[in-house]
Amino acid sequence: MRFWGMFRFTVLETVRKGTLIFYFGIATLTLLLLAFGITRSPNDPELITMFGIPFGGKAMGNLGLVEFLLYMLHHQSVQFILLLGIFGVSGLIPDMLEKGTIDLFLSKPLTRMELLLSRSLGATAGIGLNLFYFFIGVWAVFGLKLGVWHWAFLSSFIYVFFAFACFYSVVTVVGLITRSTGFTILISFCFLFISWGLDAREHGLYLLWNNIVYHRLLDALYYLTPQLNAMLENSSRVIIKTALFPGMLDFTIMPFLCSLGSAVLMYALSIWYFSRQDF
């Protein structure tokens, strides 16, 4: 009851505060653009134009073409969407910690763990709602306009949402420590790049310094923090059945499992830190 009270309140807050309404607006606009921008050529049913650019080719077949378009769309925009989401909800933890607000919350019969988790999970759920709306929308546009109801695309929502949920564990730690929305956004933003850098460390960060300790440190960081980049790559990969080009990796659940572990670790750290604080 108490937990759900706070959870519900946070979801409501994400919606009422305008951030999510704004996102619903952006999502709707994007969906409309997509709905008008995508057409199947009336003369050649195997030719699809997206925003004036023609895509086609007998080799791919009809399903293959739609799948390819969905994959490209997903792959190109998912990082950006995640970033928008972070902008919207990274303030929720620092806001809760503000003088006058936290006093009231802590005086209620909730443990600090309940308070923190209901808040973080509420924020995650708020973004989840928004993401779901967007995914359903894109899925429906493709179904209605092109006649392909691509279930694998819809299912990739679950993976993206999971990636976001893990990412939010990092946002929670940073929000707790800095108690500032600005810093939280900044550091979360950097984390997107760090995660990308760590994922490709063999081809980049390793080469900066040929030192085994440094390399193992990078490995440790990679496994201790949510593997955001790897999760997002894999969430796009579920859309296509066969590899687009030779050497393209198959879908793997590993980064999701590892990230679940690190999200649990991040939350354990947050709860420990939060429980010790004075307000």
């Binding site: 108490r2 706070m6 309140f9 006058g100 009231l104 802590l106 443990t111 010790r276 004075d278 307000f279």
Partner: protein, 314 residues
């Protein structure tokens, strides 16, 4: 008969740590031992920075004590369910700006663990009690300071607490509102609610508190009923018909707890009523006439100011 205290602390101390690497120690409470009986209205007084807010925050686990023991109705304050018995009006309180007054109460009621069926009637009753019925559906960002204070009070009462902590409850409230809040508190007391009050407004504390404690620089320097504290010292003003000789002035200064002399006006404090006669005798023996004399029962405020200044000069 054994009665349980609503609140009890033993040697409760708090040092805040601040600065980079927590290297500065700010002492806020120093071995505070207090007992508040069930059904009492207890006032905690003290100058700014004395540690009053810190004390309440420790009781509600908003701040963790450095050392010492604290119990609410016989249970350690570390237990979560202790807070089910408590209501709290913080000195700074902010409410979610996107909610209106009624929703705010419902939300805090939910955090208190109230069931959905209890919530609404309770919130409605409280809005009436604090006089915010017409404002129930107005967003709290449009509330004035006094209205927020009333909302805060209603919020603190949502779970029908057995122990109510109020930090400056009448701050920003107009005189009529203050009277209403006082009456409300007296009404709560008659239903058996224990009230723990922090305030600067000593005249108000004096009106409703059964007992008070005075806190200065984190230490309790006095506890007792208002009557006990204010009647400890009796003050008199004596108007003299002629100048007071220096010898007599010196004698009074060394023998009386408080003494001042200006323009043939003598202000003295005594520990006991019977000490007045020797003073008058001494004046008469020196041949000084007395034009008038008034007894001044020290108000809590006078006493408080003297006490705190005295402590700070030590």
């Amino acid at each position: 008969m054994y009665t349980m205290n609503a609140l009890q602390t033993e040697n409760l101390s708090k040092q805040y740590r601040s600065g980079a690497f927590k290297k500065y120690n700010i002492p806020a409470l120093d071995k505070v031992s207090l007992e508040v009986g069930e059904g009492e209205i207890f006032g905690l007084l003290g100058p700014n920075g004395a540690g009053k807010t810190t004390f309440i925050k420790i009781m509600l686990s908003i701040v963790h004590a450095t050392s010492g023991k604290a119990e609410i109705f016989g249970q350690s304050i570390k237990i979560r369910s202790v807070r089910e018995l408590c209501g709290y009006l913080p000195e700074n309180h902010r409410y979610p700006q996107f909610l209106h007054g009624l929703d705010t109460l419902l939300f805090f009621g939910r955090l208190n663990g109230l069931s959905e069926s209890e919530l609404r009637p309770r919130a409605q009753t409280l809005l009436e009690t604090v006089g915010l019925v017409q404002w129930a559906k107005v967003k709290t960002k449009k509330y004035s300071k006094g209205m927020l204070q009333r909302l805060g009070l209603a919020q603190a009462l949502m779970n029908n607490p057995k122990l109510l902590f109020l930090d400056e409850p009448t701050d920003g409230v107009d005189p009529v509102g203050r009277k209403e809040i006082r009456d409300l508190l007296i009404g709560l007391k008659s239903q058996g609610t224990t009230i723990f009050l922090n305030s600067h407004l000593l005249s108000e504390v004096e009106l409703i508190s059964d007992r008070v404690a005075i806190l200065n620089k984190g230490k309790v320097i006095r506890t007792g009923t208002v009557a006990e504290i204010t009647s400890q010292k009796l003050s008199y003003t004596i108007q003299l018909s002629s100048h007071l000789p220096l010898a007599l002035e010196e004698r009074f200064k060394s023998s009386l707890p408080a003494f001042s002399y200006t323009d043939n006006r003598l202000d003295i404090s005594l520990n006991d009523k019977t000490d007045l006669n020797p003073v008058i005798d001494a004046l008469r023996t020196a041949g000084i006439g007395i034009d008038g004399m008034t007894q001044q029962k020290a108000s809590l405020e006078d006493y408080f100011i003297k006490l705190v200044q005295g402590e700070n000069n030590k």
